[in-house]
């Protein structure tokens, strides 16, 4: 009996043994015992957010910038339902999260008690796995399994729902190394996994005349070593490489092989190269619809290699020729070994012709925009932000919309884990709390949330969090008073009827910042921009920089919904094409 401790103590002990340094959360009735235990210890720091939705995005930002697991602690009922968006976001973007929710005592479960909800039922489809722990003696093993599942294979969110009586009950703690997790509950490839496929793939690459690497977020999830290996392999092959929104940073923007981002708002040369390549090497990407465009016209003449840790991504939307299931760093390491052992050499002449063609596409200068006049163009604002921050260790987060795409196009990432954005779910309101999480993980780094005026209002309450913990997060608002991406689609697909996409009565962002005791700055014209950015960087507090940009700028290039990679729309031909507009209207 002597070594029995309470459920709440087991929770904290498990977190400590798992190496957790910080928890993002919000207290409430059903988690009070855990908060009481938290109060009595000093090893784990707690960041109090202002709404649970902020906690989970902060944990995502922390996880993606540090490579560790993000931990969230919230109460039952509304506490749990408020994290559903963030769980879904983490599920889509493969972010390791452990979310602890309080639950009403077991004897009240099912009675529609105060702040009761079926948390495991609600979160089942938006978590990798979830638990309702009814026995205090199982609590520690559940925690250790939850952390392993969150990190193992394709990472994702795991939720642990703990009834209040279990938090009070006494039980025994079991250490991490005493827990045996059955292999079927994890992804564990054998060492020789897919060896033949790897050899087949490498040979295919060596025979390519027009190869392209298509890199996704899986390379970042596989750890920094994966990026190093991917860069090394691409250099050995000499092939062009394009990255998805989630994959930016795996290969540096300045790398001679990089064509930048592909997809709906990707680079013209990247999309054209995807369309015309003869061998496509997909590493850690999943043929998302924002990337592929119309499926029946997607890269019609290529052999496709697909490396993914999640077998369900293989042949889900695009049929591939050589699927390899495994972790990026292990697979690519083997690919490099095979390439060297067999002394493979790509056809230099063909490769040169391929690069010549790509360089012609580059001359289209797809990111070109008209930068005349005194008004700040949003693209220019991001370019200046990049120029003035490129020599500092900088993390960029974004919300969702036009500003997100401009950030992806104009901010140049040289390293992985520096770019945090909601890709799969497209969650407005992600960027600011994610920046808070990133800043908690990297107190000395510069963290900038490139935001839109609409998105930032979705989690603006976290200003209070940032100021409380003295987190010098910078919010860089590209303010056009519109939900810009919605307006752009209405312009292209709905006859220019701007239904509810104009935000009237926006707050004065400078005064808003000041009301939180943060610093507010504003730039209205080009000649004020650099000063504002410099001042923003040099300020040691939380800053909102309100950048007034031209209101009706659209984000180009663009593959309209229902179109193919070789049917890109450039800013110069921005007029409505009726036929594709009708087709595209029904799509998302």
């Amino acid at each position: 009996m002597n070594n029995e401790i309470t459920g709440a103590e087991i929770v904290l002990k498990s977190l400590a043994e798992q190496g957790v340094e910080v928890v993002f959360g919000y207290p409430g009735g059903a988690v009070l015992p855990i908060y009481d235990t938290l109060f009595k210890q000093n090893s784990i720091k707690h960041v109090l957010v202002r709404q649970e939705g902020g906690a989970i995005h902060a944990a995502e930002g922390y996880a993606r910038s540090t490579g560790k697991t993000g931990v969230v602690l919230v109460t039952s009922g509304p506490g749990a339902t408020n994290v559903v968006t963030g769980l879904t976001d983490a599920m889509m973007d493969s972010v390791p999260i452990v979310c602890i929710t309080g639950q009403v005592p077991q004897h009240l479960i099912g009675s529609d008690a105060f702040q009761e909800c079926d948390t495991t039922g609600i979160t089942r489809p938006c978590t990798k796995h979830n638990y309702l722990v009814k026995d205090v003696n199982k609590l520690s093993s559940v925690f250790h399994e939850a952390f392993t599942i969150a990190q193992n294979g394709r990472p994702g969110p795991v939720l642990i729902d703990i009834p209040k009586d279990v938090q009070f009950a006494s039980g025994t703690y079991e250490e991490k190394n005493k827990i045996i997790i059955p292999s079927h509950r994890l992804f564990e490839p054998s060492p020789d996994f897919e060896k033949n496929k790897i050899e087949e793939a490498v040979e295919l690459i060596s025979k390519a005349k027009k190869p392209i690497f298509y890199i996704g977020g899986g390379c970042i999830n596989s750890g920094p070593k994966a990026s190093t290996l991917v860069r090394e392999f691409i250099n050995m092959v000499g092939s062009p490489v394009t990255m998805t929104l989630m994959g930016l940073g795996v290969v540096g923007s300045s790398d001679k092989n990089s064509l930048g981002m592909l997809g709906m708002h990707g680079m013209y040369e990247a999309n054209m190269a995807m369309h015309e390549c003869d061998v496509m090497i997909n590493i850690g990407a999943r043929f998302d619809d924002r990337v592929t465009g119309r499926l029946d016209a997607f890269s019609p003449n290529s052999k496709k290699i697909h490396i993914d840790i999640d077998e369900s991504n293989i042949n889900k939307t695009i049929n591939v020729d050589v699927p390899i299931i495994g972790d990026v760093k292990q697979v690519v390491e083997k690919m490099i070994t095979v390439w060297k052992e067999k002394k493979f050499q790509i056809d230099d002449k063909a490769l040169k012709l391929w690069w010549d063609k790509i360089n012609k596409w580059k001359q289209v200068d797809c990111l070109n925009y008209n930068n005349e006049g005194k008004q700040i163009k949003p693209q220019y604002a991001v370019q200046r932000l990049y120029e003035l921050t490129k020599n500092t260790k900088t993390f960029i987060t974004t919300e969702v919309g036009q500003h997100q795409m401009w950030a992806a196009q104009f901010y140049k990432f040289e390293e992985p884990n520096r770019w945090l954005t909601s890709g799969g779910l497209g969650t407005m309101g992600y960027g600011f709390p994610a920046a808070i999480g990133a800043q908690v993980g990297h107190p000395d780094a510069l963290v900038v949330d490139i935001a839109g005026d609409a998105s930032i209002l979705m989690n603006i309450q976290e200003m209070s969090t940032a100021v409380q913990y003295r987190l010098p997060v910078k919010i860089f608002i590209l303010n056009n008073e519109y939900m810009g991406m919605v307006r752009q689609w209405q312009e292209l697909l709905h006859g220019g009827r701007y239904s509810e996409s104009y935000t009237d009565s926006l707050p004065d962002f400078v005064k808003l910042a000041e009301s939180y005791k943060a610093v507010g700055l504003r730039a209205k014209t080009n000649d004020e921009l650099d000063d504002v950015i410099t001042q923003m960087i040099e300020t040691k507090n939380t800053v909102i920089a309100d950048i007034w940009v031209t209101k009706e700028e659209n984000c180009f290039p663009m593959i309209q919904s229902g179109s193919a990679h070789n049917e890109m729309m450039l800013s110069k031909d921005q007029k409505q094409d009726k036929k594709s507009a009708e087709k595209g209207k029904i799509l998302v």
């Binding site: 039922g121 599942i149 059955p182 079927h184 619809d289 042949n315 029904i586």
Partner: protein, 180 residues
């Protein structure tokens, strides 16, 4: 495959019936995880059967009858395997030899005029009388789904009936020790 909104309309292969056997840890919520995956991703369940099969290991066997193109069914199998408590997924149609059966309980309204015909038909199909109190007659018929279908069709032509069916369960008839 081609579940995306960007999909081309041409069908890749024909829709077929498949029987999937899913071995799972017998823990709370596991059935909800499995059927939630089907409804959430828009797959079909024609019938479903769950029972614990092994006492010592706490494992349940879920038998699911579904239909779809081979691409869709292969995606279903992979999605099932992503569920943490799932041990294995077997598509019995791809295994080749498998045996399937289901049970139906049929409440038959018998009168003097149809009694002889009913009993003849039940004899023919080897339907077993399992309840005979107070003139209620409940028959049990087991076997492949087509056989049960035929029986129900024929008995329906004779008299009014009420039916409950278990949905098929199936097992591979390939010797296990060959695989090992």
């Amino acid at each position: 495959m081609n579940k995306s909104v960007y999909a081309s309309p041409d069908q890749v292969s024909e829709t077929k019936r498949h029987i999937l056997t899913v071995l799972v840890d017998n823990e709370p919520g596991v059935l909800a995880r499995v059927i939630g995956m089907f409804s959430g991703r828009g797959y079909n369940i024609d019938s479903l059967n769950v029972a614990e099969v092994s006492n010592d290991e706490n494992i349940s066997r879920i038998t699911i009858v579904t239909h779809g193109t081979s691409e869709v069914v292969s995606q279903i199998e992979k999605q099932l395997l992503r569920i943490v408590p799932v041990h294995s997924v077997t598509n019995l149609d791809q295994e080749g030899n498998s045996v399937e059966a289901e049970v139906a309980l049929v409440y038959i309204y018998i009168s003097e005029t149809n009694k002889k015909k009913v009993y003849q038909l039940c004899d023919l199909y080897r339907a077993r009388k399992i309840e005979n109190e107070n003139n209620t007659t409940i028959f049990e018929i087991a076997g492949a789904s087509e056989r049960v279908n035929r029986f129900i069709k024929e008995i329906n032509e004779i008299t009014k009936v009420e039916i409950v069916r278990s949905g098929p369960v199936a097992i591979s008839s390939i010797q296990k020790n060959e695989e090992e």
